[in-house]
């Protein structure tokens, strides 16, 4: 019997048991739909996370005060004053470096504008911050060198912060807000970068570094230095130049560890994409379990079907069916159920991917590789699920099968 004949026979058989066929296929439909939509959501999450990190600044190197943990031993803890404005200034002439921004953050600063208030973080920095962290101003101006030199009480606000104060950028620029009770003139509002929740890149206040040090933190130390390099390929080179410069400025001997740490945006991207890939694989794993359960449903139904059709199998053997003819008939039935379920499952999956993504705030879209993966997995599931029943049916003894009541 050819596969074409087996297909024809199976289609007739499945139609006569339409309800059972539908319920059996339902397991596969759910599994495939879950696989397609969760792959879509997983990829959407990854893309969103990557673009958010990329929006924080390109070609960015971050120098953080304090030692990194190297070999499990924290080196030179508290022995150096870590980073200063002079350190930042020393990095400017290094080759391949485009911009250097000193940064001193103050967290949980209460911003009051008229009768509205919000809490956000204040970062003291320099005009170079706009370049280093990729900020553009939509209304007003960014910080200037003059304002830094004169320690003026001026502030640039993120668009989310402005919105939290129930104001528009046009309304707030030129007004005075209080930062922890100290009046600052708002000189600009940046363009939104997009994002929400924790570490929202649009919720902040920038003020001149000198002003923040004088009014809030005291001293001349920095938490971080943001460095932008000219060429992404030069990041490794720039990193070692920065490391050598800072080590020599901090007077570290050869055996001492760094009292600062260097993180590149690429490293962050790698970590983030690794983490989101883990999340995606986890989602695929869950969906795959659903598909496997669907396959078990097929195998179960097929085994029942073999039991019900023992006499038919005996009769078919009597009229000339070989083992492989019988086996093929049952295998093809299982594969049809799984492929039919897969087709419907793909359609359902494509339709629900968008809404599911929207529910978890991710721009998700079903992808062709996801669909192909789901489809071929279900083909495999059908073959595996049909194998045992098919073998059982093919191996029946014709005499016993004909006698079976």
């Amino acid at each position: 019997m050819s596969y074409m004949e087996a297909l024809r026979l199976a289609m007739r058989r499945l139609r006569t048991n339409a309800l059972r066929t539908g319920l059996t296929a339902l397991g596969v439909i759910i599994g495939v739909a879950a696989l397609v939509s969760l792959i879509g959501v997983g990829q959407g999450t990854q893309a969103a996370l990557t673009s958010r990190i990329a929006s924080l600044g390109t070609n960015l190197l971050s120098v953080n005060a304090g030692a990194s943990f190297t070999g499990g031993v924290r080196g030179a803890a508290g022995t150096a004053t870590t980073l200063t404005e002079d350190d930042a200034a020393a990095l400017v002439p290094l080759p391949g470096i485009a911009a250097v921004a000193p940064e001193m953050p103050v967290s949980n600063v209460v911003v009051v504008a008229g009768r509205n208030n919000t809490t956000t973080s204040l970062t003291g920095t320099s005009p170079a911050e706009a370049h280093v962290r990729s900020y553009t101003v939509q209304t007003g101006t960014f910080l200037s060198d003059v304002e830094v030199a004169k320690s003026l009480r001026v502030a640039v606000l993120g668009p989310t912060t402005v919105a939290n104060l129930n104001m528009t950028p046009e309304q707030i620029v030129g007004t005075t807000v209080e930062l922890n009770g100290i009046p600052f003139e708002v000189i600009g509002v940046t363009e939104p970068k997009g994002g929400s929740g924790f570490a929202n890149p649009d919720d902040f206040v920038f003020a001149p570094i000198s002003t923040v040090q004088a009014a809030f933190t005291g001293g001349t130390t920095l938490r971080t230095i943001g460095v932008s390099v000219n060429d992404p390929n030069a990041i490794a080179y720039a990193s070692s130049a920065i490391e050598l410069t800072l080590r020599s400025r901090h007077g570290l001997v050869a055996s001492a560890s760094d009292d600062f740490s260097l993180v590149s945006q690429n490293q962050l991207l790698t970590v983030a994409s690794d983490q989101s890939a883990t999340l995606r694989n986890f989602l695929i794993g869950i969906a795959a379990i659903a598909l496997v359960v669907g396959g078990i449903g097929i195998a179960n139904t097929m085994l029942v079907s073999v039991r019900e059709r023992v006499r038919e199998i005996g009769t078919r053997k009597a009229i000339g069916a070989r083992r492989r003819d019988i086996g093929r008939q049952f295998l093809v039935e299982a594969v049809i159920v799984s492929l039919g379920g897969a087709l419907i499952g793909v359609v359902v999956g494509v339709l629900v991917t968008g809404p599911v993504g929207a529910a978890v705030n991710v721009p998700a879209r079903a992808s062709l590789p996801g669909i192909a993966l789901a489809f071929f997995s279900s083909l495999l599931v059908g073959i595996v699920a049909g194998f045992l029943p098919a073998r059982q049916a093919a191996g029946l003894d014709p005499v016993e099968a004909l006698r079976y009541e």
């Binding site: 019997m1 038919e312 005996g314 009597a318 069916a321 003819d325 005499v399 004909l402």
Partner: protein, 242 residues
């Protein structure tokens, strides 16, 4: 015996069949020797448990003897593997069962055409030959009916059409009228008799003396042995109703 071994279709030499049921052995056939010629009509009679069904299964290549030799058209069947046996069943043997064994959910036409699917016959030719076979058993007006829509006699005629569709030389029938009323039984008798008159070799297991009376030969089986092998004229004279 009728015919010599040279022109015999079926030859059994000391056929034995032993089933193992756990510890014990059931000797269904204890050494059966016979020869059935091409074109003969033979009835096999005997009480239940006598081994006649086992004999029919051996004749139909559904089972293999535990000992002895079985020649089908001169070929020693011990040399046939499962696929060869299946091919021989497909082309040379038609089966008719007491309970018809039609596949419900498939039309009479599809049921009759089923053996041709396994013979690898193309679809168009299958339909044509299945129509012819149904026509031959007088059911050309029931081709697209499901077996469940047919009477017992009609079902058995569909089954006979299925047995004939590959034009085999041999038809094996296991109590073909066992589930039928007397009117339907009579129809089936005359159909089988007619097929035999057209040259079909017919081996029928039956309890029905009327079928046996129409056969040329009657083999009586008891306790796994052939206890008598006589022509039916003698059987009829011995007192069975004609």
């Amino acid at each position: 015996m009728t015919g010599t071994e040279a022109e015999a279709l079926l030859v059994g030499e000391d056929l034995q069949r032993v089933y193992r049921m756990g510890e014990s052995e059931v000797r269904a056939l204890r050494g059966v020797t016979f020869s059935i010629a091409l074109g003969e009509s033979v009835a096999i009679m005997g009480p239940s448990g006598s081994g006649k069904s086992t004999l029919l299964h051996l004749l139909g290549l559904l089972d293999r003897p535990s000992a002895g030799r079985y020649l089908f058209a001169g070929v020693d069947t011990a040399r046939l593997d499962d696929d060869h046996s299946a091919a021989l069943r497909n082309r040379a043997i038609g089966f008719v069962f007491q309970n018809f064994n039609l596949v419900s959910g498939e039309t009479a036409l599809d049921n009759v055409a089923a053996p041709l699917v396994y013979a690898g016959v193309k679809r168009k030719e299958r339909t044509e030959r299945a129509r012819e076979a149904l026509d031959r058993v007088g059911l050309s007006d029931r081709m697209h009916h499901d077996p469940s829509q047919l009477s017992g006699g009609q079902r058995q005629r569909v089954a006979i059409a299925r047995a004939l569709v590959t034009r085999p030389p041999l038809l094996l029938a296991d109590e073909p009228t066992g589930n039928l009323d007397s009117t339907s039984s009579a129809e089936i008798f005359s159909l089988l008799a007619q097929l035999h008159s057209e040259g079909l070799t017919l081996v029928t297991i039956t309890h029905d003396p009327r079928i046996a009376a129409r056969a040329e030969r009657v083999l009586r089986v008891e306790d796994g042995r052939i206890v008598s092998d006589e022509n039916s004229a003698a059987y009829a004279q011995a007192g069975a109703p004609a």
